[in-house]
Structures are given as C-alpha cells and as structure tokens.
Symmetry: D2
Subunit: 479 residues, 4 copies
C-alpha cells in the first residue's frame, strides 16, 4: 500500500480517538449499520481531499465500509492530525503491515508537497495492479476538482502556461504539477475526467467554482453541493464555529474573553455562531456587516453593529467570518491597541491582509508558539495573530467537533451514494441533496442526544399538505 504520513506509530492513539469519535458521529455509524450489508459503494473508487482529521477518518472508514475504494489527501497544509492519518493508514492492520486506506497528508506540508500529494489520490490500481482513475470525487474547496478540469483544459490546449504567468504562489504549483503530467501523458487528465461520475463538494468556495464552471459550460460531470444542505450550512457553520472559535482563542492565547470587546466581521452563519460563542463567555460583541438584512438580524439579537473603523481603536479581539477578502487591513492594524488579538474563522487567509502586515516597515514577527505570533511594531506595540490568518479553529484548536461533522459527512455519504447509484438522475449540473435526505441526516442525530421527535397524525399531515414522514418544508424555507 502506498501512503505518506508523518508517523505511523501514532496510529494507536489515533485509533482510540477514532473509536471515541464514532460515538459522536451517529449519522455515519448508522450509514454503516444500514448499508454495510448492501454495499452501495461497491465499485466506487473515491478520490478524496478534505482536512485529514479524526472525523474525516470516521468518514473514510464509513465509505470503505460501504464498499468503496478510497485514496485521500488533505485540503489544507496545516489541518492534518497526524495521528488520524496514521490510524486510517494502519486500519485493521499493524504499523508494520498497514491494512487501511492510502492517505497522503501530514501537518505542515509545503505548497509544493501539497499539490504533489493531491495528484496521488487519482492513482488507483485495478485488481490486476494496473493504473486506473477514480470514478468519484469527494472534495473540500475544489482543489482536486480543479486538477481534473485544468488538466483537461490544458491537454486540450496542448500546453500548460508557464509558472511565471501567475503571481499566485499556489497556482504556480498547480501549473508545475500539470506541466509534469502533460509531459508524461498528454491525455492523462482528459481520461481521468471522462471516468468520473461525479463530485460531492463540501464548501461554499468549491460550490461557487462548480456553479461557475456549469455556467460557462466547462463542468465535466455532475456535482452535488453538500454545503447547502441545511444540516451542513446551518449546523457546521453556526454551531461548529460557536464551539471552535472560543476553543481556538483559548488554546492559542489563554486570554480571558469575559469583559473584552470583540468585533465579529460578518453576521452570516459563521458570524452568528461566532458572536454567540463570545457572548456566552461574557464578551461585549460588536458586529460589522455589509448586508442590511444580516445587520438588522444582528441588531435584533442585541449586538452593536458598527463599521470596523468606528471601533478598531478600542476593541480587544477581531475575528473575520466573511468569506470575502481584505477585511482587516494595514490601516486597521495600525490603529489597534497593544496585544489586540486577530484571527480568521471565515475562509481564506486573505480575509486579513497578512501580506500587508508583513510589509510594514520595521515590523517583527515573533512566534510565541506554533500558530500564535506576535507582530511587534516599531513602537513596541504587539498584535497577536492566530494561525497566520488561516482558519484559527483548525490551526489553534481541532476544528469542528465530531457531532457537527457527522452531519456534514452523512450528507457526503448520501451524496456519494446518490450519484454513484442514480447517475441517470443527475445530468451534468450542480445539485443540492433532496430535502428528504437532508431531513434524514438530522433524524439520524436525534437519538444520540435524547431528542424525541413528534409524529404527525395523518389528519395533521393532510392539513399541512405534507407526507406524514416528510419532507415537511418547501425548498425555500429558511430554518
């Protein structure tokens, strides 16, 4: 078995954590119970790219329990939990004879390593050991989907642009990998793309890219947008961040949140969960927003809503949650108080202008501990930046907890089954899961936390005009 992880000897600890996590992921475990015998993913070869954490380990082992062949990379250079990667590789085997799933991920990869490993998740072997591509993709952010599409595009064009065609450090690596591949096999990605039935995508960003491709006609296969399942977006984003924001701040700084003034930039689902997270610890929370509806929601929820410029002088903690870029800029850093704490739980690290910060004349970046830096200004003022502006809940804590990921990942499993077994119902396009599956995901998580669900009588269902067993709401219902 080929694989590349930090240290296989961490597998024992990883296995214990996997077992604990299974208890917290009732949706995935029910998938195993329900479909373990029928093996709906028998024959699926899934190329996966998603933060290689303990929770993802439970997902991977659920996919294999349903019959799939899986290869896995991470989707973020810092987010791998090395003990999780080791445990998934070892599986039922031993450190000397691993018998699990090939994983290509470790904490702290370089960008070059990242894209080299991403390429490897496509390199399946058939039963006779010959190279064969995946027939399914499970993606988070769209990086491996990008490889297939860009690869196909460049093969059609017959050439890959040079690395100096771009300023983007990461895209240089993509071009490097694709150039190498083009040299080896001029139809490699074209063939890979042709073999793929579909992709299930985890995030807003990845989904946006898919819609764009669909609009411009370049999408190669159908896609299921897992991100917009209610049981994903409303749970993972809101409740997941409520958990992991303070967890990241606490582990990173040990600073008392109570009494502090915290600014949450953005009041979407992530911002809503973040604001609640800090208020629950006794912070005074101020929200910034561009959307008048979300701004009004924040006000109705009792938060002060101001422009960043109005509060940057006196606030203690700044958290971006927007999915946009350039939210906290040099002009803001310049005005912040000594030992202000700055972090991002939104999306890319460009929510905070880290590049601009680094360019301030005379500034010194000093590591307090991994993922926690103080930036010392010429006048001695220090600003504490978490996870270098990347997602602080992944960098400073352990990301979302298992229970919330069980919701997202059960959507992933159902989406994989949906496309793999009913491809004919999914012509090329981008789909959300049907509502009855969304409701099913929620249903699978109720028993574990003691929730009793009420059942409609037939008369009540008729009155509402819905089936007794659901789905209960129209597609545009907002929850």
């Amino acid at each position: 078995m080929d694989y590349k992880v930090a240290d296989l000897s961490l597998a024992t600890f990883g296995r214990k954590e996997l077992t604990l996590a299974e208890h917290e992921m009732p949706g995935l475990m029910e998938m195993r119970r329900r479909y373990g015998a029928s093996q709906p993913l028998k024959g699926a070869r899934i190329a996966g790219s998603l933060h290689m954490t303990i929770q993802t380990g439970v997902l991977i082992e659920t996919l294999t329990a349903l019959g799939a062949d899986v290869r896995w990379a991470t989707c973020n250079i810092f987010s791998t939990q090395d003990h999780a990667a080791a445990a998934v590789v070892v599986g039922n085997g031993t450190v000397d004879a691993p018998a699990g799933t090939p994983v290509f991920a470790w904490k702290g990869e370089s960008l070059a390593e990242y894209w080299d490993e991403a390429e490897k998740v496509f390199q399946f072997k058939d039963s006779e050991g010959n190279p064969i591509g995946p027939n399914m993709i499970l993606d988070d952010g769209g990086d491996i989907t990008l490889l297939v599409h860009k690869g196909t595009e460049f093969e059609k064009a017959g050439a890959v642009p040079g690395q100096d065609s771009t300023d983007n450090e990461e895209y240089k690596e993509v071009l490097r990998v694709l150039a190498r591949s083009l040299e080896n096999d001029a139809t490699y990605w074209t063939n890979i793309g042709a073999g793929i039935k579909g992709v299930t995508e985890e995030t807003t960003t990845g989904v946006l890219r898919l819609y764009d491709r669909f609009k411009d006609g370049s999408l190669l296969f159908p896609a299921i947008n897992v991100n917009d399942s209610v049981t994903k977006s409303k749970f993972d984003n809101k409740y997941g961040c409520r958990h992991s924001l303070i967890d990241g701040i606490n582990r990173g700084t040990d600073v008392m949140i109570a009494g502090k003034t915290a600014v949450i930039c953005g009041y979407g689902d992530v911002g809503k969960g973040s604001a609640e997270s800090l208020r629950g610890q006794g912070a005074r929370v101020i929200v910034t927003e561009i959307d008048p509806i979300c701004a009004l929601q924040a006000a109705m929820d009792g938060y002060e809503v101001k422009r960043l410029e109005s509060v940057v002088d006196f606030a203690d903690i700044f958290i971006t949650t927007t999915g946009n870029f350039d939210i906290i800029r040099v002009e803001h850093f310049q005005r912040m108080k000594n030992q202000a704490i700055v972090g991002n739980i939104g999306h890319f690290d460009n929510e905070i202008d880290m590049a601009g910060l680094a360019k301030i004349e005379g500034i010194v970046k000093d590591e307090i501990k991994p993922q926690v830096h103080q930036w010392i200004f010429p006048d001695g003022k220090k600003i504490i930046v978490l996870s270098e502006g990347r997602l602080l809940n992944l960098g400073n804590a352990t990301g979302h907890p298992s229970f919330v990921m069980s919701n997202s990942f059960t959507n992933q499993v159902l989406a994989q089954i949906e496309i793999f077994t009913k491809l004919e119902e999914y012509p090329i396009g981008v789909y959300v899961l049907p509502k009855h599956l969304d409701e099913e995901v929620a249903r699978l998580h109720l028993d574990a936390i003691g929730v009793e669900l009420t059942e409609l009588t037939q008369a009540q269902a008729d009155y509402l005009g819905v089936p007794v067993e659901g789905p209960f709401k129209s597609d545009h219902y907002r929850y």
Copy 2:
C-alpha cells in the same frame, strides 16, 4: 364618508399613539418622504383587510399619502384597537367631520358582522359617486381574496351552496354573504375580480391558499407573497413573537415566568422567538417538533426536545406555534397540572382543541377577565386558557410592536407599488419581492437604531461577484 367603528371619540388618544408609532416605523415614514411627491399609488383603490391596530393605521395613512384610495376591515374579530380605528377614520378632520379613511372594524365583532364588514371594503365610489370596485387588494389571511374568488366561482355556477352544506360556522357566514350578493347582482364578484390588478398577502396561510389557486388554475390576478420576504418572515415571526409572547402572558396572567417549565410546540420562526422569549425570563423551556431539522436546531440551541406526552404532566405553560391543528388535545388537558396556562401564538385557534375542551363533561368555563378564562374541571382542577385559543399576543397584548411591523408593512407598500405600477412584469402567478427590495426594507430600519452598515469596496464586490450596493445573497440563502 361611510365607516363603522366602536367610538369615534377615541380618535384623540388614537392620534397620539399613531404619532408615537410613526417614530417606530421608519420604513413607512421613509416611504412617505421618498414617494409623497411622486404619488405612485395615485389611482389605486385598495381594499384592505388586516388587524386594525395602530401600526396598521400608520400603514393605511402611508398608502393614502402615496396617492391611494383605501377602505379597510380587520382580519380578526378580536384584534381591532378601537382607538386606532377611530383615529384612522377621523384623519385630519374632526369627530364631527371625519376626513380620514373608511374603516369597518371594532373589537369583538361577531362572525356575521365580520363578514358583513369585509364585504364593504369593496364598495368604492368613483368621483361622481357611482359604485366602483377596488383595483388592488391588501390581505392578511386571504379572507377578502376568498370573497372575490368564491363569489366569482359561485356566479359562474349560478348558485351559492346552502349554509347547511358546511359544519364550519365561519364558512356559513361566507355563504350567507355571497348568497345575498348573488341575489342582488349575478356578476358582482366576477366584475370585482376582473377589475383587480393584484393582491399583496401578509401571511403563510393566505399565501398557501394563493399557491393552491395558482396550481389549480383558479387564481384571478397576480399575487405578491409578502410573508416570505426575509424582512417579514424572519423578523415579524421570530422577533415579533419574542416580544409579544411574554407580553401577552404577563398582561393575561401576571404570573412569574422564571422557574416555570414551559413547552413550546413547534420550533419554526415563531417557535424560535417564543422559546427565546421565555428563556430570557428564566423559564426552563422544552420544545416539541415534528421536523427533525428544526428539532436538531432546538437541541443545538440548548433546549430539551420531547413529545408533548412526555412532559404534559409537569409543565406549567403550554404555547402552540405550529400553524398546524390539534396540537393540544383533550387527552393533554386531562393530564395537565392545576393552573397550567395554555395559549396559542401560532395561527388559528384550532392549534388547541377548544371545541373538545368545551365538551368535557362537567367542565365550567369561567371568565377571569376579558380574554382570560379558567376552565374548571369536575375535580376542581383549573386550566387557564388565553384568548380562547386565538392568538394570545393579539388578544392579551397589543400584537407585534411597531418597529417589527414597519418591516412587514414596508414590504406591503413596496409590493403594492410594484404590482400597481409594473403590472406587465407580473403575469398571473405568486411572487416574492425581489431581493433588492427586501434588502431595502432592512436598510430603511438601520439608522433608527444606530446601526452602521459597512460598504463593500469595488474589489471586494468583484471578489464576491455581487454589486457594491447589493443584492448580496442568492435567493436560497437562509439567513
């Protein structure tokens, strides 16, 4: 001017309250400022049916300020505020020479009176005093829209079914009114229907009826679904009920909510606001739900989620918020504690089986004060029922506060303008307001509460793929 209200002498007090309410309804006042000169509703004859409260008074006077001719009835026999009705009728005039808008509503109408008055909102006069129908409807629950459609249907059939064709007391009155009209003028409602450009509808129920009519091909004119504007459903339902639920319980019972166990049946927007309302007062809140997604939300929000049967023995307060029927039934009443409090803030009074309660052998209904009754069981146990099972926030308090209604009603005004001035864009169908108008409604309410909105830079807008001035979200965004 024809009108029918309880007591015109209440107009002075009503006028003061109107002035106070105007300050709390910045959206409507901005409509007056922005459109007072251009008079976009000049020529509109609006038949309106909506709770005749102070807030509705500000709405009516906004419609007339924009040029409309208006006639108004209430949509609920108990919800009229008599001083509001009086003030709207008097307008700039005096009690002796009223110069406002014709209103046909008073608190405590009988069902027969209710439908008689509803009919009158259609009886406009042209400039020469000749009868003419309305060309617009503004409806809440769909009662006056029903008159037009049923009237038209029966005129086509040539006959109105007899009152004994139905067990429904209210529908008997509808049949009575329509039979009388058919006798007078066999094409009365057909002509009315033909003259109407469109309807704007306030509520879920009304909207459901409209979609049903559209599906079965019987819808006579286009409709705008105001209910599903975010600034209506998410604000009015959630924040409005958070305000008015405890207000109704407090005024009705003066009972301490802290320490009590309260059951909220349903965790939609109304349920979410209701649960928060009671928790904010220190109650222990238990939620019942049929929808696994909403049930999981309730659990994530920290509420116990149980079936009513599991908790009916020991809870102190029971509130229905479902929009469904038969939620609290005789079997539940039988098991409740002495002095349990039961109320409905959901929709119709059939959420609670009031009819069943009244039929329990030996039970005595005793009025404590208007809208508050104790039902005394043969064994002496008392159950306190608010507003006879009708909406307790309207019956025991004063409904939603002005600020939240300003959001709903600004949607109404924009919807009226939209259909009246751009009819060609609205072929028969049911529409929600375009998102930019929804955002505009929110925007109009920010200054009044000191909210500062952040503006996107052009680069940021481009990054997100939205205009700098919005709309900012996709149609399926859930807020």
Copy 3:
C-alpha cells in the same frame, strides 16, 4: 367595619385573582397549612403599610389565618390595585356585609389622603369596642414607623413644627397629621409606641432609617430587617425586576425593545435583574456604576459600562435602579434623542430629576395615557416618562409577580411570628432573620416549580461541618 377603598363591587374579580395568586404563593399557603391550627399570631394587632396589591391580599389573609387582627394602608399613592383592596375588605362576606380586613387604600390618593389613611391603621378596637393601638407593625419604607417615632418625639417636645418648616410636600402632610393628633391627645403616639412589640420592615430605605434610629438611640422597639433575607433581596430585587421591568415598559409604551440601546443606571440586584430583562428581549444594554466591584461584575457579564454622559446622546431607553438621587438630570434630558424613554425601577422618584424637568422653559407635559407622559420640548423633541418617575413596575405594570412576593412575604410572616412569640430574644435593635428561616422560605417554594433538593448524608454534613438539615452557609456567604 371601617374601611376606605375605591369600589367594593370589584371584590368578585379581586377574589378570583386572589385565588389564582394563592397558587403562585406556596410559601404563604404553607404558612396557613402549618400554623393555621396553632394560631401563633393570636392576639397580634398588626398595623400594616405595604402596596395594596393582590399579593399583599394573600399576605393579609395569611396573617389573619394565623390569628392576627390586621388593619392596612398602602405605602405608595399609585400602587393600590382597587380590586385587591375590595376583595380583602369583603373577605368571606358580601359587598353589603363585608367580613374581611379593614383596608384604607385606593389608586391615586393625594398625599394628604395618603397620610390621613396611614394614621387609621393604628386605630384598632378591643373586644369591647374601645380604642386600642396595634402591638405589631409591618412596614414598607417606614412611613407608619415614622409616624410613631416622630409622633413620640414631638409629644416629648410638646409641639409639632409648622408645615412651613419644610419644603418637602410630603413631610408637610406628616406634620399636619401629627399636629392634629397632638391637639387631640398629647400622648397618643407615645402610648402607641409603648404598646408595640416590634416592626418587620420590607425595604432598604426603611431598614436604613431603622439602623439610623438604632444608632442614635431613638429606636422604640426591635425591628426585623426582612429586606436583607437572601430570599428577599436576591429574589425580589433581581428576579422580580427582571420580570416587571419589561412588563412595565411594554404596557406603558408597546415599543419594541430589541435593537434598542438601553442604559441601566446601577448594577446592584435591581440593576442586575433589569439588565438581564432587557438583554433577554434583544436590547443592547449599557450599564453605569459608581462601585468598582459592581462595575467589574457588569463587564464580566458582557455589558458595556460607561458614564451616562458618554451615552446619553444615542441611547433609546434609560432606567434608574440606584436607590440614590439625581441620577438623570436636566442636562441629560436636554441631550436625549426624540422619543427617548425614561423610567425608574430603583426607589424614590427623585432618581430622575422630575422637578427639574418640569422647570425647563417652554416644556409641555402631555398625558398619553395614565402613567405615561410625553414631555414636549420647545423644539418639538419629546421625552417619554413612565409613572412620573415613580416605580414603573408598579405604575405601568402590576409590580412583582406573586411567586417572588411569596418569598418576601413568607419572610414577613416568619418575622412577625418571631417577634410576636419570642420577644425576649429580641432586645431593641435591628435584626435579620436567622439563616435557617431564610433557607426555610426557599425550601417552601421548591415543590411548586418541580425542584428536587438533594440531601446530604451524615458523612457529607460532617465533612462540611454543617447539620444535615442546614443551615448550610456562613452568614457572610454572598450567594
């Protein structure tokens, strides 16, 4: 039977409300069950002065059920509930033949009437119909205790100062009443004072006066400070105000609290409950404080803490809770926004400088409805003042709810029994109730709300060094 109330015919309604309130006052009802047979207050003649509400009705009837003879006045000219007064007077009798307890109180007394009625609670008759004084006082704020002490003092001096010796309108009335009494009987109050075993006092203010008298040697009889029982101060002040603050604002103004900026002046127990009350409704709450410890508590609880001057320009709601005077002054009124709402839930009406407000040149006071006024400034700006600056929870709502008053009043009953039956243990001085009685009051309220109390094992009690049945805490424990 002599009495003076607004309208005896309200007794039927009052009786229903009394019955409902009894259910919510388990402590008092347990007093009746426990002591109804032994009649520990047999022989007690209690002069009472405390807001004549429904809850006080349950208190009065508990005292009489324990054997006492009672006469009652209110302690605030606006706080009487006329139906409560009527019901207490009628008792088991009828409107034509009242058989209850003499009450001298109605809503809206003048100051002169107030002090005339206060005097009457001392005018008991013995079994032969001869005048006799009370032997116990139950007081709220110390007004009738003042009559005895001032009366005694002036009788000793042989003269009552003239009314023009004071600017205080209320004290003029005290002097008037005492001068009249001195004229009739030069030792009237001296005799009354000599006959009194002790007083139980409800409030901070009354208690302060008692401590002052004790310090200067003028206290005539022992006093129990009910105010500082934990089950009074921490419950009545904090949880009572959490309930009744928003109730008063809602009934008075119907204004949406969510999204508004509210300033709570003072973060003692009343302030803590008030801040929570408004936050539970979605307000942004700002606190002002003079005490650094309370200020730090407010900050730890997530509130912004500022000086009034820093926020008076933009806040929407201002509530005083301090027990101090001159908190909101003319300079503040001048800077407030149009339609700012101002109210007091602290103590006297001098927390807000109402006199100063009235003296602003050109200002007009306009009544919107009883207890709600708009003060219209020369430039048209309106400020809404609740209850003329007096306690808004009493003036605009119905005061604290029964359950919380049951705690205070059970302390009162226990304190009355304590002094009346164990006078020898109470030499002249001011006492708090022993902790075991304080705990007992709490214990009596647990069953009603479904609380299960854990019992210590003997070993655990020994470990802690407390008796198994309590008391559990040292006297200085802060809860």
Copy 4:
C-alpha cells in the same frame, strides 16, 4: 541559587508568556508601578505555595519587585507549568546563570516529592548565607501552613506519629517529612513558626483550616482570608470557571457540548459559572443542590434542578463543583451512559469516588492521553474521566485566565503588604481585607477593559451616607 524545575531551557518560552500575561494582569502591574519605588515588602521573606503557573509567575515577580525575598513551591502535583517555573527561576539571568526566584515545582511530582519540595520553601538564607526562616507565608490550600503548625505541635509533643497511624497516603508523607525534621532539629518548626508574622490564604479549604485553628486556639500567627474578598470569590470562582470549564472539556475531549445534557453538581459560585459556561455552548444544563436557596436561584436562572439519581441515566456530562466529597459514586457510574464524561472543578478529587471506581470488579483504566482516561467496564461501557477526578481546569486546560487571577493575586499582594507593614493592627486571628481594598482591586482592573466608572457627587454621597470615594457597601452586601 537552589531550585528544582523540569527544564530550564523552557524559560525563553515562559518569559514570552509572562510578558503576555502581564498585559492581562493590570492589578499586579499597577502594584509594581505604585509600590516599586517605596518597596513596602523590603525585608519580607515569603514562603509561597500556589500552583506554579504563568500567572503565579507574574505574582512572584510582583512580590520581588516590591522588595520581597521569595521561595516557591506548587500546591498541586499536576498544576505546574514547566515553562513558567523555568522562567521564574531564570528571571533576568540566563539558563546558565539564573537570576530569578527559587522555585521547587514540576508537572507530575510524586506525593513524596511534593512534600519534600514544600519543605524547601522555608529554607531562606540571610545575607551571610546562614539559614533563616521566612517571615511571611502565602498559601493556597494551607499545606505549608500545615507543616508549620503540625511541626510545632509534634515538637511540643516530642514525637511525630508513625506513618502507619494514618490511611491517608498524603498525610503519610507529611509525617515522614516532619519525622525527618524532628530528628535533625527538635525545635525547627517551632522556630519557624515564631518567626512568621502572618499568612495570606487563597482558598476556601485553607481558610476553613485557619478558622478551625483559631477556634481551637492553635493558630500561631494572624491570617488574611483572601478567598472571601469579593474580587476573589465572586470573580475567580464564577467567571474563572465559566472560562476554564469548557476549556478543559474541549482540550480533554474535543466533544461537542451543544445538544448534550450536562449535570452541574452544586450551584455555588463555581457551579454558577460552570452552568453558564455550558449553557453558553448550547448544552441543556441540569443542576443538583443541597441548599434550598441556591436551588431556588438555579431555578430562577432557568435551570432544571434535580437529584443526581433522577438524571444519571441519560446525562452526557457530569461536573462536580461542591467542595464536598462523595458526590459522584460507584452507584452513579454504574448507571451512566456509554462515553459519559465525568470531571471535577470543585475542590479535591474526592468529589468523585475515584477509589470506588477503581475497585469495580473487572474495570480497566485506559489512558487516552495525559489527564484523560477511559474506564472500561466489564460490559464494554466506557466512562471518560478527566484529570483523574482532580481539578479539570488545571489538569486539562491552563486554569483560570490571567485577568481573573490578577484580581485574586492583587488581593494577595495587598494582604501581604497589610500584614507585613501593619502587623500591630492584626492580633492573631483570621481577617478579610477591608472593603476599601477589595474595591481598590476591582478599580485597578477597569481601565484595561474600557470601563468608565461614574463618580458620586458630594450630595449623592451624603444622601447614601458613604464617602465619595467609597467604600460603597456594607460588609454584608452580597453583590
């Protein structure tokens, strides 16, 4: 310099953390600014025993900045932060030439090591290098105070009891150390005791022991009870635990708290903070209590209050906060759900019957990671126990955050100054700090979090009968 720590090379990291913590400890830093020049602790030799964390490092360096000579041990075998110990030892010096304060502490001492190191904090040297005892003690839990008192007692008796006179493993070590000392010098502790001016004690437990000694006449020197300063007990216990409870659970288990049912045993200050901590994360919180007043407070705060027996079957998380023993027993463990989480944030590890758990037949204790164990029952059920039943906020997280400790520790510094400089005002006894110092501690923490304090006018102060600058409250005020 003698010292004993884990690894001096951690000093660089420790020094960075100390600098960060100084910013969060404004009270201590103000002590340095205010008293750095006057050196009020010049001549003080302080023997200290308190968790050797970063915050304690700031305390130690504040004491030395005020002139004191200090020697330090930890008061808990697991709570030392090795980088903090190293940094304090190194001080301004280098790893090769440490120039700070002698510390005797490392994470994971054995009990024998613990008591050996505790003894060393008494071994000062005078300027000529001769042995000399401390003249002040700063203690947490009373262990080093115990050494002095027991040592003196045994020296008087002329013998130390044998180790087999006790079953208590820890007390055996105390006897061993004291026997060794007696052998060396028969008046060692008697002399030490005679040289000590006083002790300042941090905790409830330590304070109880002091009161006991004072009552039985054995107390050797005056003591200041720092624990009962408002700025200690109400802040450290309540807000500190609100912060550190979820921090410990998160770091220990990574489990989602939202939706879980959590039982908080005890609703004192620690319980209040703990309940709020979990509620803020979306848990359903159930409280157990023995004290009816605290139980009623919990109910008023909206928590369900039950006996542990009633809820042990279905709850997910169990936290003890009582200060009592034997709260969670074998009978409870037997009934818990699989993967229930059990931890203690109250006091000693005997709140949970760890000994009983270990004795269950067939049970296996398996370490998941340091301070997190799963106890596997014969039937496969696992119970997760944090920190072996010891304080989980110290064992699984980093204890209270700096800001809250700054409050406690500023009390400590003021108390040390108080006794050291005004010994004549403190005859042998146990004292709390005067209220003006308690208020001063709070005041020193306001600026850092942007709190504006309001100042009384002289007239207002007179009205209240307090000085303009405080103290503002009576000693029995409960905050």
